[in-house]
């Protein structure tokens, strides 16, 4: 892990404000164009909506100026733009549903949840002054994460919706706890791996030119693998299962720099999925739909057919290069067009050009997360930022890959775009954490010379070392073990 230092650190709040103007223009223009396209007139409350979005964006901006002045200037505008585009599309599907006599409205709820999420993100930024505080809660985060994942299995609390038992319903609110669990687990993985990465990076036998880790270090990956398979089996949730395991393998790779972990992870997951496909009908059905989507009988099968997937593809095709324009297409023909299939809806109305822009915004967002991981100075922050950036990237890949039939369709949400309160809430918290870590990463380092003179870092252990060289033999262990396993050290 290396650190890259900028010549001259710009705080970037001015840049952020300029980008926010563009992002808000996108959000408000989307909303106005939806009204114009679908009903031929501007939505009555476009000014109020614009003021609301501007207020939310400025609130975060001001909190950043106050509490994280060096935070990355691109993250917030990207998130605001994505959130605005998502809101407009959800509103657009509402209009289409209304025209067909539907009564269920999602846009209002999503707007309220966006406001709650923004407030929560601000609270995270204000209360969490230093991301390293989270390292103290490594094992608490593990417990919280596992409890959140298991919550939907509790009878009376968990609800099965569309075949997946991933929801809990309490006090009139429903929540997908796995969305929040991914943050807790990212914190746990980062805290755990930063402590144990030395053991996990130790080389074991070499097979086919691949340096495998030692067999006894396989414990943690097996535990996480078992947990993700349990999610798959007990909750029928392929998406969360993939996300959980993918996150761990990715962070393991970042922590140890050993390619063997990725290969081991892929092999283990492929094995797990192969067994699950053979044993459980719903997993096999997903694969069947994916491979035979365009077969007539698969398309027409009422529940569990490929109708949704193929209609999404038709939508993308009718969008073409430049799309039908906001409010001009028929994205509402696809079931769940406002949540699972929002990418297909956006592809239809904005075309390939618009969809590419949206995917590039995601790319930029993830790049900022990974750049933060490179820039931040502590190992925990590096792992956490890399893990959170990976979560966003992975969700995009799984969702967009599922809709475009690159991989089987799974039930993950598109971050910031799709309808879903838990997802929006969790992703705004992820954004807040990334902003917090990036503030630390971009903050100019204190002058190292002064630090060296005031703290006798080099002096103290040296004296004690010189006096009693035997006493330090104990913490030489990694080198000793390495010599035993690799048959003699080389210089």
């Amino acid at each position: 892990m290396a650190t890259v230092e900028a010549h001259r650190v710009r705080a970037g709040r001015g840049t952020e404000l300029a980008l926010l103007v563009l992002a808000l223009a996108i959000a408000i223009a989307s909303y106005a164009l939806v009204g114009l396209g679908a009903t031929d007139e501007l939505p009555a409350d476009v000014l109020g909506y614009g003021a609301g979005m501007t207020g939310l964006a400025l609130a975060v901006h001001l909190v950043l100026r106050w509490r994280a002045p060096y935070a990355d200037p691109v993250i917030l505008p990207s998130v605001i733009a994505l959130n605005g585009i998502g809101l407009a599309m959800i509103y657009r599907i509402d209009l289409a549903r209304e025209a067909r006599g539907g009564t269920e409205m999602f846009a209002g709820k999503q707007l309220a949840l966006s406001a709650v999420s923004v407030v929560l993100a601000c609270v995270v930024l204000v209360l969490l002054r230093d991301h390293r505080t989270l390292r103290r809660y490594t094992y608490t985060a593990m417990v919280v994460g596992l409890v959140l994942i298991l919550l939907p299995l509790i009878p009376g609390l968990g609800v099965t919706i569309n075949g997946a038992r991933i929801w809990i319903r309490a006090l009139g609110f429903s929540l997908q706890p796995a969305e929040l669990a991914k943050i807790a687990l990212a914190v746990f993985f980062a805290g755990y791996l930063v402590t144990h990465r030395d053991t996990l990076a130790l080389a074991g036998p070499k097979v086919l030119g691949l340096q495998l880790p030692r067999v006894r270090d396989f414990g943690p990956i097996i535990v996480v693998w078992a947990a993700s398979i349990a999610v798959l089996v007990l909750q029928s949730d392929l998406g969360t299962s993939l996300l959980l395991f993918g996150l761990f393998v990715a962070m393991l790779y970042v922590a140890t720099e050993r390619l063997s972990w990725i290969i081991i992870g892929l092999v283990m997951f492929a094995g797990g999925v192969a067994v699950a496909t053979a044993t459980f009908g719903h997993v096999a059905a997903r694969f069947h739909i994916w491979l035979h989507a365009l077969d007539q009988d698969v398309f027409e099968r009422a529940p569990g057919g490929s109708g949704q997937l193929v209609r999404g593809l038709f939508g993308l095709a009718s969008g073409g290069l430049f799309g039908t324009g906001w409010g001009q297409g028929r994205p509402d023909l696809v079931p769940f067009a406002e949540s699972d299939f929002i990418i297909a809806s956006l592809g239809e109305e904005l075309g390939l050009t618009g969809l590419m822009a949206i995917l590039t915004i995601y790319l930029v967002l993830c790049q900022r997360g990974l750049r933060t991981a490179i820039g931040v100075r502590d190992g925990f922050g590096k792992l956490l930022a890399a893990g959170l950036a990976f979560v966003i990237a992975f969700q995009c890949f799984v969702v967009v890959g599922g809709i475009t039939r690159i991989i089987p369709l799974t039930g993950l949400t598109t971050p910031f775009l799709a309808y879903g309160g838990s997802s929006l809430l969790a992703n705004w918290i992820v954004a807040a954490l990334l902003l917090r870590i990036s503030d630390d990463a971009r903050r100019p380092a204190p002058e190292p010379v002064g630090e060296l003179l005031t703290t006798p870092a080099g002096g103290t252990p040296l004296d004690e070392d010189a006096r009693n060289p035997v006493a330090v033999a104990g913490d030489d262990q990694p080198t000793e073990q390495l010599r035993r396993t690799s048959g003699g050290g080389r210089a």
Binding site: H7, L19, G458
Partner: protein, 166 residues
């Protein structure tokens, strides 16, 4: 609304979307090119303009007259996992190894936890092996006792190579 207006609004929106994306990328570009890249060739030549041609590691040029102010000011890792890391040299010794208590913590499987130390004495810097497993080498000579190091000499510790620079 006329067909033309609809088309213009549709394309105008896409332009706006890409304007945002491209300006975000513009901000990132500065980040890509605005970083400090540690060139390992030029600083050495500049810092060490005239090393006596015959002055090997065993024959350093003590520079007592000008004091330590003209001596090396930093310790640079030029090879190994930490390549590019710079440590400013003050008046205290620098302990190098894998232990977290070291001044320079090497992320190197082949170094010992307290591998070597570099310390100033009599206007020059000396390197001393702390009883490491794989040894310390100055210009490919194994270090047994404390030996003086001239700026630019290669100190090899495990997979890492360090040098003093002015």
């Amino acid at each position: 609304m006329s067909e033309l207006t609809v088309t213009l609004l549709r394309l105008g929106y896409l332009v706006l979307l890409w304007a945002f994306v491209l300006s975000a990328i513009g901000v990132l570009r500065r980040d890509l090119y605005g970083t400090r890249i540690t060139s390992r060739r030029r600083p050495r030549a500049a810092a060490n303009p005239a090393p006596p041609a015959g002055a090997a590691a065993t024959a350093p040029t003590p520079d007592r007259g000008r004091g330590r102010k003209s001596g090396p000011t930093r310790l640079v890792v030029t090879e190994g996992p930490l390549r590019g890391t710079t440590l400013p040299l003050g008046s205290s010794a620098v302990l190098i190894g894998r232990a977290p208590s070291c001044t320079l913590v090497l992320d190197d499987d082949y170094s010992s936890s307290r591998h070597a130390r570099v310390y100033p004495e009599g206007g020059q810097w000396l390197v001393e092996d702390m009883g490491s497993t794989n040894g310390t080498f100055v210009d490919d000579q194994k270090v047994t006792d404390a030996v003086p190091v001239r700026p630019g000499a290669q100190i090899r510790i495990g997979q890492s190579v360090l040098e003093l620079q002015g």
